[in-house]
């Protein structure tokens, strides 16, 4: 198991190095100007991509375990949407303060993500797990509500704020270079700490696969676990959204593929998702900025991978009696 994680970490390091180099420049003829460019622009961007990918993938893995449904994902469930609505509301209301490297935008995104999660839990929960239909429909409704809030806030804004807000809708890492470095560092640190904290609940997440009552009867503090995981996930989603906007499907694809590779045990799945999500988004963002002559929002790439993947999952799940 430690070997698996070392392999994942090495892969991440390699991916980050290679992707930092890639960008229509010849890596073999580095001059100082390009070296500066790498340090100032591309390295922070790759670091943000890694942090956001790790956060979203870990959230996806945790949501899936918590809701006992393999289709849960912060984007599909409307949690990212809640975070984006919070972020846009902060722009509209001109909330602007810094709090240990966290902007008012991040705090507001956290509030939005947490609100979305609480709504989701209130409406989408059945007695034994969460049915796929209810879950996805609740996510659709939440996303619609948050889009309406975002549109409302944007129609009340002046032009400069609109263009700022618009960037959060895109799910792009392009604006990442606008962030101050303390903000980037704070984001990366929060993601690392939260993901490590998730591990403390990994064993209980395993027990939850047997149902909440059985998990409690096997010694898990179910309510405490749920509360802690919800807060951690809302925080992770908020950091991801405030750094890069709502990027979809990372939390769906990555844990799914990793469950096939490392198995469903959350004690190994969560750290694997941390590295796997980081690798996935770093690669996706590198493709987004180097595939075409103009840069694509990375959300386009992940949605183009993730959308068909979700459809395929729905189709294959439909054939199983348990869904």
């Amino acid at each position: 198991m430690i070997i698996t994680l070392v392999v994942f970490a090495a892969l991440l390091a390699a991916t980050m190095t290679v992707c930092t180099m890639i960008c229509s420049v010849n890596v073999f003829s580095l001059n100082t100007e390009i070296a500066d460019d790498i340090l100032d622009i591309r390295l922070p961007r790759v670091a943000i991509a890694a942090a956001v990918g790790a956060a979203l993938a870990c959230c996806g893995a945790v949501f899936q375990g918590l809701l006992r449904n393999p289709l849960a994902d912060p984007f599909i469930l409307g949690v990212s949407g809640g975070g984006a609505a919070g972020a846009v509301a902060a722009i509209a209301l001109g909330i602007d303060f810094a709090f240990f490297g966290f902007s008012g935008l991040t705090v507001s995104a956290f509030a939005g993500a947490l609100a979305a999660l609480l709504l989701l839990l209130a409406f989408a929960r059945g007695r034994s797990g969460t049915s796929t239909h209810t879950l996805i429909l609740t996510g659709v409704v939440l996303n619609a509500i948050f889009s309406a809030i975002i549109l409302f806030a944007m129609s009340m804004m002046n032009n400069q704020n609109v263009s700022e807000a618009y960037r959060w809708m895109m799910g792009s890492l392009k604006q990442a270079i606008d962030h101050d470095s303390p903000q980037i560092v704070a984001g990366c640190v929060v993601v690392a700490i939260c993901c490590a904290a998730l591990l403390a609940f990994a064993r209980n997440l395993n027990l939850l696969a047997l149902g909440e009552e059985t998990a409690a009867q096997m010694g898990a503090g179910v309510e405490r676990t749920k509360l802690a995981l919800l807060i951690l996930c809302a925080l992770l989603t908020a950091v991801a959204v405030s750094l890069a906007g709502p990027i979809g499907f990372v939390g769906l694809i990555v844990p799914h593929i990793l469950r096939i590779i490392v198995g469903p045990d959350h004690r190994i799945l969560i750290p694997s998702a941390f590295f796997g999500g980081a690798i996935f988004l770093v690669v996706a963002d590198t493709l987004a900025r180097s595939l075409f002559y103009t840069e694509l929002p990375v959300g386009v790439i992940t949605a183009l991978c993730g959308g068909p993947f979700l459809l395929w999952l729905l189709k294959s799940r439909a054939r199983q009696a348990s869904f």
Partner: protein, 264 residues
């Protein structure tokens, strides 16, 4: 005066879902090494009784003591080291292997970050051997048959290494051979490890064959409680289940055999 060997004690337990009373003033005590069958019609409170013993539902009145301790003062972990449960619903999310499921039974002995040690592996192995599922270790829980899965779930409860095991209809959905097999294992655990067993059952004859004591519930109350032959009488069963029965006695074991009589 507290009996030393008393392992479970219910004192005037009442519980209601909304206005609907489910458990109505139930008191009983179960001694260490007991093998108690709980029977009764649907909705008589059998499953709720099991849940009340494990803090899944909290009685509105009364108290539950396990090993002499009030359970509301025990943490889930402490309780899970005393009582293991085989639930009615054995659905498992995600593709866990049989061995992984059985090892989950060791959770009450672990902190958040510790991994399974030699002792856990040994406990899981021995539980799987007892339940005759050791050969299924690497198979996925979703791929095995219903009878195998029920044995795996019991193995998981065994790996929990508790003095008390509660089972909620462990033989529902199983064929006759597997039903008898499961009860045979329960009897062995009861005799060899003097494990205290409380089993909710819809099969009166099976409960009568294997259990030492029967508790009959009706409308959330104890309708009859005592040794098998004293409780499993034609009068009691007809009163509680509201169906005509004939009661015969097994030639060899002299355990009651219950047959429903179709009404014209």
């Amino acid at each position: 005066m507290q009996n030393v060997s008393e392992i479970i004690r219910l004192k005037d337990i009442s519980f209601a879902y909304g206005a609907q009373p489910v458990l109505d003033d139930i008191s009983m005590s179960i001694d260490e090494g007991g093998f108690v069958g709980v029977v009764g019609p649907n909705g008589s409170g059998k499953t709720t009784l099991i849940k009340a013993l494990t803090k899944v539902v909290r009685p509105h009145r009364g108290a539950v003591e396990i090993l002499g301790k009030e359970i509301s003062r025990l943490s889930n972990r402490e309780l899970a080291r005393a009582v293991s449960v085989v639930p009615q619903d054995t659905g498992v999310m995600f593709a866990y292997t049989v061995a992984e499921i059985v090892l989950m039974g060791r959770s009450p002995y672990h902190g958040a970050l510790s991994f399974d040690n030699e002792e856990d592996l040994a406990a899981a192995r021995s539980a799987m051997e007892t339940m005759d599922v050791a050969h299924l270790g690497e198979r996925l829980i979703s791929e095995i048959s219903g009878g195998e899965r029920q044995r795996v779930i019991i193995a998981r409860a065994l790996a929990q290494d508790t003095p008390i095991m509660l089972l909620d209809e462990p033989t529902a959905f199983l064929d006759l051979k597997h039903q008898v097999g499961i009860y045979g294992v329960l009897r062995r655990l009861n005799r060899e490890k003097s494990m205290t067993i409380v089993v909710v059952s819809h099969s009166l004859s099976l409960a009568a064959q294997f259990c030492k004591r029967i508790v009959m519930l009706k409308d959330g109350r104890v309708a009859a409680d005592g040794p098998v032959r004293g409780v499993m009488t034609k009068e009691n069963i007809e009163r509680v289940f509201e169906v005509g029965v004939s009661v015969d006695y097994d030639e060899k074991t002299s355990a009651p055999l219950i047959f429903p009589i179709p009404q014209e």
